[in-house]
Every structure is written in structure tokens, then in C-alpha cells.
Symmetry: C2
Subunit: 456 residues, 2 copies
Amino acid sequence: MARNNIVIVGGAAAGMTAATRIRRNRPEASVTVIEKGAYISYAACGLPYYVSDDIKDINKLILYTPQEIYDTYKIRVLTGHQVLNLHARNRQLEVRNLETGRISDIGYDRLILATGASPVIPDIPGSTLDGVYGLRNIDDALALKKNLESGLTRRAIIVGSGYLGLEMAEVLRKHSVDVLLIEAKPHLIDPFELEIASMVKNELLYNGCQIQKSVRLSGINGSSEGIHSVELDNGAEVLTDMVVFAAGIKPNVSLAKQAGISLGKSGAIRINNKQETSLQGVYAIGDCAEVRHRVTGKYVYSPQATSALKQARVAADNASGKFTKFEGITGTAIVKLFNLHVGRTGIDKSIVQALNLNVETATVEATSRAAYYPGAENLTAKIFFNTSDGQLLGAQMAGREGIAAGIDVFSSALHNKMTVFDMLHLDLSYTPPVAAAWNPVLLCAMQAVKKLNRRF
Amino acid sequence: MARNNIVIVGGAAAGMTAATRIRRNRPEASVTVIEKGAYISYAACGLPYYVSDDIKDINKLILYTPQEIYDTYKIRVLTGHQVLNLHARNRQLEVRNLETGRISDIGYDRLILATGASPVIPDIPGSTLDGVYGLRNIDDALALKKNLESGLTRRAIIVGSGYLGLEMAEVLRKHSVDVLLIEAKPHLIDPFELEIASMVKNELLYNGCQIQKSVRLSGINGSSEGIHSVELDNGAEVLTDMVVFAAGIKPNVSLAKQAGISLGKSGAIRINNKQETSLQGVYAIGDCAEVRHRVTGKYVYSPQATSALKQARVAADNASGKFTKFEGITGTAIVKLFNLHVGRTGIDKSIVQALNLNVETATVEATSRAAYYPGAENLTAKIFFNTSDGQLLGAQMAGREGIAAGIDVFSSALHNKMTVFDMLHLDLSYTPPVAAAWNPVLLCAMQAVKKLNRRF
């Protein structure tokens, strides 16, 4: 089957990574990217830091303009174009030019869907008023920063205490905005453990954020002039000038659905280890697709930039006739809020319970450098391990430094299905100004082994 | 055989770690530590930071005094006692009280040698003059700091560009001392690769240190008043007030030798995976002993605090009747000099050549955070991998942050005998202020895979 005409829907990081890799693989192929918005090839994870003004120039987050990508890679990019329909039988896309309204057909030999995700915005009164924001793309970032730089926003409500919600708390405090963070669950940053969640709570409070848990937004009040208050489902009415929705994202799958492509249980596009969907010759990558979790072996919805980029390479290879596989994730994610770093990898308590595993935990307090060295910071690490064989199942950490380092070792251990017995022997870096002689990973393994030895 | 009376020779970190673990394992046993010096249980790796005055109080580096260890653990510590002879046949030590000169016999059921190492000091004229220093123990640190705080030392020569030499360069510059670092080999910080060595050189120069390579000390000139100059083997005579020997260490094995304990090819004490020496019931740990390198499977001399502590636990377990094994090292080490962090793990070029392996390298320049995020620092990573199967063999990194994190992932990969193909799939931390989307480990793996694919 021909692979001369490859089309990608979606021009954010995953789509453009796939496009440039296809070009490298197949110098002679036609490569076209169709993007609804005006920008391509941007670092979405960097947007909060543009809004915070840590990054002054939005162009720093944009790797290529459409013209640059054409000049460098001869990749044709159609920005401001929306794919209305996917006709799988004759491999055609029905595409609308959003500026002119003109509709045309674009054929493909291979198609990659990189349609991304959208913020979850509840269907409540006022949710479309000016002053209500999400943060997924360049337009969102420009609008949010413009608002904050006007100086007119004094109070903001953040809905959700996931990674974006916590990052936005820092962003808004940098603009001296009074922040109220509301979380529907009874504790913050689910699915982190309480030890970690309480460190997150303290960091928010220390930095002047208010928090309300176990509460939902039930309405937003305002007019064409903007918003002035919100209503909570506990009956409270709270004054605010801004609402930021950070209560998770949902995969953009309407095109896939229309085309009859199978979705997984999670609602995201089901793929195999070649990133191929149920439709032959059609691949899906990034935030619209599922991903295989190595620890459970199951496909889940776990949108992360790092796996999106890996999936993009794999889909690009397979679309251009080179067989490669994506081996799945261990579930690594990390976030910084103010001076606290929080990370996790592997599976969490809810999944452990769902799988009915025999699990024990080990929790340690450690220091990021030798305890006696100036600047050593306390950190907390907690692991889950299988009591039947000692296999590591998951890890969570929080502290002011050394978190990425620890999580990456735990992730490597999960990747290799290491037991806590074997982890005891990891040969990890030590020098007093940079790391402690007993790395937190080793301390966790020691405590876990002690618990297991006591059982037998 | 009885294990009621366990004796440890050497009261630094390894010896005391063994002692306290034996106490935990066997609450009823008699545990005795014999230490030549006045101090026990100190963090030797922290000594440079006491000398630099980053740490003001030497007691911060001392975990326990002999009295405290007795009160807490009922471990008897004889400081100021030297073991003169080991009579293996009747399990007796001949011990001299260095204060009184009195000699007595101390019996043991199990013995652990933690006799440490000494600086390599060449046999040249003047090497015992005042003003000539090593830095291995508390007394060395007190003497060096006293000298530097006198303000009378204006110029110093550091002999050797290994970890201690580089740390001492920073220490001496903090005291505003003019530093000349001399290295016998033609490049610094052997066995690091040239890319890394040149970053080390630049960091030293930027911080006002002078460097001479391919040169050795041939004499030290001075009198009872102190030293005033040194002679180099290139004929130069250089004025100096201080010489610091940092040209490596040699294991303290005279007691082991006297007792007929086998040494390895490296000259350090040969041990098995239980840390047992050739003499039944006698164990050796830490800087006096060899260690098995997991990558080559061979026993080598590679003294590191982290493996000393692990060996201490293993020797303590076996000495107290609990079978555990030490699984060996991957060869991880890291050093900070000024603002540069430098690390390595696995094997280096000289070992690769000695083993006659088919090896290729991959070198990448990366950033410690997202490239667009303020404070992102450049770093260099270089790996060695086997071209026959893609297995990772070693890694070296240098940069201002993120080095320990990367080296620890490489070390975990080596521990698990990962190939560069498999490393591509590691799920590593990413958030713009803390780490880049393409971790340096992944970039190295990508480049290595590209090289391997080109070959086939």
C-alpha cells in the first residue's frame, strides 16, 4: 500500500514531532499537517510560565512557524483548517478553511490523529462568560496573560488541584491575585497519598492561597462586563474576577468517533503498540489516545508530553513503513508549585485496590543532600510494593529538590520490574552538596525489606 | 561456631555502620570497635566542606561520640588503640593503647576489618614537612582549617585532579588562596572523557585556579618554619605555602597482610559476596577492600562511601549469622567543583579497551530544564555501548544541575543490563522548570540507536 501521502491532524508538539520524523524517514513523501488553530509546534507545558511572566516572549514556546517548517522540512501546514469528516473507505478528509468557510477534500495514504484534548468544563450557568479560562493552547495563554497584566483581576478561583491547578496557583500569586483553589475530592492532588497531599496543602497555604475541599462549582455569575462571583454546591457565594478550569482534560475524539474508530474504556482512542487505531493505516498519538501502562499491562488514559513525543516517533515510523513499537509508560509525572516539587510513578492505591494485589507501603523522610550540608531539604518518599514477591509497584515523592532524580530511579526500577530486594543494591550518586549517602530510593527499599522480613 | 563476641577494626562510617547493625541483629552479643584515632562515626566525604567553612562546626560531621554509641547501642569503642597483630589461629588481636603504650590481647568470634585507606604520598624530599597535607580524617580537617584561617597561606599546590583535588580547589579558593593544580596525566580527572575534562578545566580556570598537566612533584622545599616552594619534574620551581596531596588513596592492608589474608590484584583485600576474606570469620569492608563491578563481573578497587555502607550491612549480617550478599557496584561517582557537577557510572574507555569490547559512543548536549525556562543549564552526556547487542556499558555527564539525576538513571540501566533500544522507552520526569521533555538519557539512547541502525 502506498505511503506517499501522509496527513497529520493536529499541529501541536506530538503532531509536529511525527511530521518531522516522517520527513526524515521518507524524504520523497508528501507530508501535510492540518491544524484548527493559528499556531503549531508549541510547548504546551510551558504555557503557565508565559502567563506567569517567567517567560516574556510567547515565541520562545513556539519551535517553528508554518513557514519555517515548510522551508526546513517541506512539510505543508494548513493552519485555521478543521477536519469535519474522515471517510475511511476512500481515505479522504473533508476539511473546512475556517477563515473562508470553503470546504475541500484531502486524501491520504496514512493518517495520524494528534487531535489533543480539551479542558473538562462542567455544564453550569455562566461557564462561557468572559473571565472563565482554560489553559491548553497559545490563544488561551495570550488571553490569560492579557487579563492578568491589565491589573483588574484581584481575585481568582481555580477549579481542580491537579498539576495545572497547582501550577496556576503559583502563576496567579506571581500576579498578586488572591487565589481560592477548590477541589471536588476530599483531598488535594488525587491520586497522591495523604502525606504528599498535606505537603502540597502547606505549600499553597504558605504562599497565600486559600483552599476548599469537597466542594464543586455550581454556577458563575456575571454579565457581558465579566464575572463577579461563583456559587459553590455548599451554598456559598464567593466573589471573584476570574475562574480557571483545571479539573482535568478529556480527549478530542469526535473525529475518530465519526469515522467509526474504536475508543478504549477510558474514552480515548484505542491503539496497539504501533499506535495504529482500529482503522488500518490510521494512527493516534498524544492526548487523544490511550497508552499502555507497563505495571498493569492495561491501556489507560494518561496524557503526558513525554509519552506523546515517544508515540509520535513510533507512529511516524510505522506510517512511513518502518516497524517500531511503543513499550508503554510506567506512569511518571512531576509538578512544581512554588518551591515544592511533587512526583509519582507506577500505580497508586486505587489501582492497587482494583487489582486486588497484596500490597504494603514504605514511607521515609530523607534529605536532598547530606543532612549536614547547607541547603539540604527534607523530602518524603512513599512506595507501594507487592508483598508476595517484593516487586515495586509505585512511588510518590515531594520536597524542594531531588524529586525528579528519585522518581526517575523508581521509574527505571518499575521499567525493569525490580524488587525491593534488588533495589537495595542500586549504586546511586553521592556527594554531600548534591545527594545524601543513603539515597531516598535505598531508604525506601531498606524499609520495605525490613517489613517483608518481619512477615516471614 | 560462636558469634557472641564481634570485633571491628576501624571506627569510621563503614565500621560504625557494621557495629550498629550487628547490635540490631544480635542484642545479646558483645560488640567492640577498635579505632586508632580519636574520632569515630564521622562523614569523611563532608570534611572538605568543614575546611571550606560551609560547615562551621566539626561536630556536625560526627554522628556519635564513643560515649554516645555506648549509651545508645552498648557498643564498646576503644579510640586511640592500634591493632598490631592478628593471630588468626586463636582469634586474638594484639592491641596497643597509643596513650599508655600498654599492649593487650582482645579475642573475637567474628572480626570485621574496616581499616580504610591513606592518601598516596610520593617518596620525595620534603613530603613530611609542615604545610604538607592530605585530607582523610578529622585531624587532617582540623589542621587544614586552622592553617587556612590563620590567613598566612597565600599559595597552595594541589597534587592530583581526582575528586578530592577538584573539591580542594574550591575549598582553597573560598579561603582566597592562589591555587595551582598539578596533574601527572595529560588530562584532568582521568578516566573521564575529554569532553568532560575540558568542562572541568574551564570551571577551574573560570574560578581562578592555575593548572599544569603532565607534570609531577619532585621535591618540596622548606624548613621547620614550613614550606616555601616545590620542584616539578619539568625543572620548574614554584613558590607555595601549602601542598595538598589528592593523588588517590591506597588501601590500609598491613594488618591483613600480616595475618596472611589474601589481597586482590588491586592490592586491596579480596572478599567474596558475603564480604568474607580468605580467613574464615574475618570480613573486610569499605576503603580497605575490593568490590565486584557488575558490568565486568571483576573485583576492583573502587572505594566509595555508598558501597562501603552497603558492604558494612552485608558483613554485619553475615558476621551475626544472617546470610545476605552484596551484589556489587555499577561504578557510580559524582563530584561538585564550584558550580559544576560531574558524574560517571559503568566502565570507561580504558576498561573497554582492556576487555576488547566492540564499543561505540554517543554524546549529546542537552539542557537541565526545558530550554526556554529561565535557569536552564547546558549539560553534556556521553555513553559507551556495546555494538554487538546495544548494551549500555558506561556513562559520563557534566553540567550545573541535573547530573546526579541522569547518572542515577544510567546506573539503574546498567544494574539491569539495559540496551540502548530499551532505554528509549524509559518514562522519565518532565516539567519545564525541573527537567526537559527529552531527558539526556533518552537523547543518548536515541543517538546510540541511530548509530546502531546505520550499521545494519
